[in-house]
Symmetry: C3
Subunit: 285 residues, 3 copies
């Protein structure tokens, strides 16, 4: 993903309104920071994915919180070559294993096999969480004049990159406003097609005054949106909240159905609304 993104930026930034400074490699590990103009707000989009690690024998353990169902196709690569195997869930114990023509190397990482489906109104695939958040950031980059886009790692499995990205961005640019470009859940209060979700809380609670500014801007711009209120869940914002810099943050993203499965489904209207809202916010915040 890091290489793909660096290539994409190199090939496309010529057509962007502003050419960003690119920070990557070395102290940034597998992360990338794009700095446009005089930034006031930073967008965080995580580039990692959920999946599985091969343990001992045919055992699998989770990376992050993927849904598991017997028959899911998993792909990867080990010392003996390409892998395309099948996930097995033990009905009694819930334990995970794989079926394949040969044993797979210990420690190999497996991900869902991609089956991308598109209709007039929806996209469906594994990893829309968070490829759509990344897509949103890249679309935003085309017209962005002032702002930061940070591509972060390991969000799905405990985090660990946003802490240093946040420190760097705060100390180098004085930026302390963040938007989390990520995908959320369709629930009884958040419907597909009813607009991008602005999260008022998940397991953490963002600072009220900041979220209210965002809601006012969304209303004034007439962008369809839904207010989300959850008691659990988290995002890259956890590291912003707990770090030693005083960040204001807000999670804003399209909702998806079939979360963390190979069949994640998002309504195109919500994707369009997500991008429109980010475009306005990066100007107005």
């Amino acid at each position: 993903m890091t290489k793909f993104l660096l290539d994409y930026v190199r090939q496309n930034q010529g057509t962007w309104r502003v050419q960003p400074q690119v920070r990557a490699g070395g102290q940034f590990q597998d992360c990338i920071i794009l700095v446009f103009g005089k930034p006031r707000t930073a967008v965080f989009a995580h580039i990692d994915s959920i999946g599985f690690t091969v343990r001992y024998g045919r055992e699998l353990i989770r990376i992050g919180g993927p849904r598991a169902q017997t028959g899911y196709h998993l792909v990867g690569q080990d010392s003996q070559g390409e892998i395309d195997c099948t996930l097995i869930v033990d009905e009694e114990t819930g334990e995970l294993s794989y079926e394949f023509t040969r044993p797979i190397d210990r420690g190999t990482e497996l991900t869902f096999r991609c089956d991308f489906r598109e209709t007039d109104t929806t996209v469906q695939s594994c990893y829309l969480d968070n490829r759509l958040g990344v897509w949103n950031a890249l679309q935003l980059a085309e017209t962005l004049e002032n702002g930061i886009i940070a591509f972060s790692c390991w969000e799905e499995h405990g985090g660990g990159s946003v802490a240093y990205l946040a420190k760097y961005i705060y100390e180098e640019y004085g930026v302390h406003q963040a938007l989390i470009s990520d995908i959320t859940w369709v629930t009884e209060g958040v419907e597909a097609g009813a607009g991008v979700a602005i999260s008022l809380r998940d397991s953490l609670i963002p600072r009220r005054s900041y979220v209210e500014r965002i809601c006012r801007i969304a209303r004034a711009a007439n962008i369809p949106h839904q207010l989300e209120v959850e008691g659990s869940g988290g995002s890259d914002a956890k590291e912003l909240q707990h770090g030693a810099q005083p960040w204001d943050w807000c999670f804003i993203g399209a909702p998806e159905d079939h979360v963390h499965s190979p069949d994640e489904l998002v309504d195109k209207r919500d994707i369009a609304g997500m991008l429109a809202l980010y475009q306005v916010l990066m100007v107005e915040l």
Copy 2:
């Protein structure tokens, strides 16, 4: 609370022995730092409260860990005005909801309605945790010559401000000794009226040498106190322990009964002892 405290400091500091420097706003978000003389020790008192957030329909979810009982009165405010509603706990599922004359805006925050009761020997109200810790800090301010008082946010719901307050205080003033001015629980080992509690541990364990110094000072000053030993619970000290500065910390506070309910009850002798101990410690540590 932030505005109340800033007003209170402005109006009262003229009568204090030393006028503190006041750090607030901007990078301090909703927190306040008062710096008196040449500080060696910092007192942390959190100014946030537990409560509830309105989710979808009539659903409520918790902010922090409030006790929930059908009939509790909750107050708040939304776009349609003042709210004074009743908490309902589903007996089977434990799910929380409200009863009110109208629907309440999604995301609205509700708190216990205050019913302050005072006798010759006790005070009783919601939010003695941590209004009493704040009161203790403000009383301490009247005679404090050298020290820092930090009013922190979000302690009840995952924290997020002490990390940057601790970094700022350590880097600007070299202070690395902390006292947590907060309220603890009456238990089988800690009685109401038997003195302020000095915590030897909760879910975290403070550095032994620092806590032993504090106990020696308390004994030498003849201040009634109780040693608390718990296996769970936490405080602002979590962020001091886990931050990237080498803080010594100790939780010292009066114990309360009916924890996290509208009926929190504290013995006045323990409050007086709490203040007396902080006054001695800020001189001797």
Copy 3:
């Protein structure tokens, strides 16, 4: 332990290939950092232990995750002198208490009584986790030319020192490669005597490229080793992963049986392999 280590370093460093700079006391609390030559990699070995705290009456609560079994001998010291008592586990409730000739002071810390057993092929004792990790670091010190050895605290109980050690080491020396010198578990995939374990993951997942470099070096050096893949557990690496510096880290340690009991058992071949691998890695990384 801190005093023991400082004495040991003072008495033995004359025979070491390189005399390290010693950082201890003050801002390092009970931790110690040894800096050899021009460091590129830091070894972290935690010096704390699991155990029990005396609560109220005869109650005990855990420090970290010690195994508990009626009859274990526990030792400590309080205001009345030395303690050698017996652990009692309530068979129904699982509650812990002690049996002794007198009451023990509230807040007293108790540890397993040491019964060190050695054969031609094994060592057995409480606290091989992490006295062996410390031993490994001290042996490594004898021939180390360039590198850092950091003795950390509180790993068994939530951490709190590696955050500031990591910040100091990164900022002062630019070092961002870490090895965690600690002891792991014998499991169905990791056998005693089959080599030092290189952990591909526990509850956290280290950066793939760094761990693969380590595996290549181990293979090239013909050092017997086993690849460990776990879904739970943690180490000092948690603080490296979550801190605001971009550390690469890997847990490398001999496996033990009877984890967190007075009878921790390790195969001498795995200890020798652990040291050999650290010696190679500190040159090649």
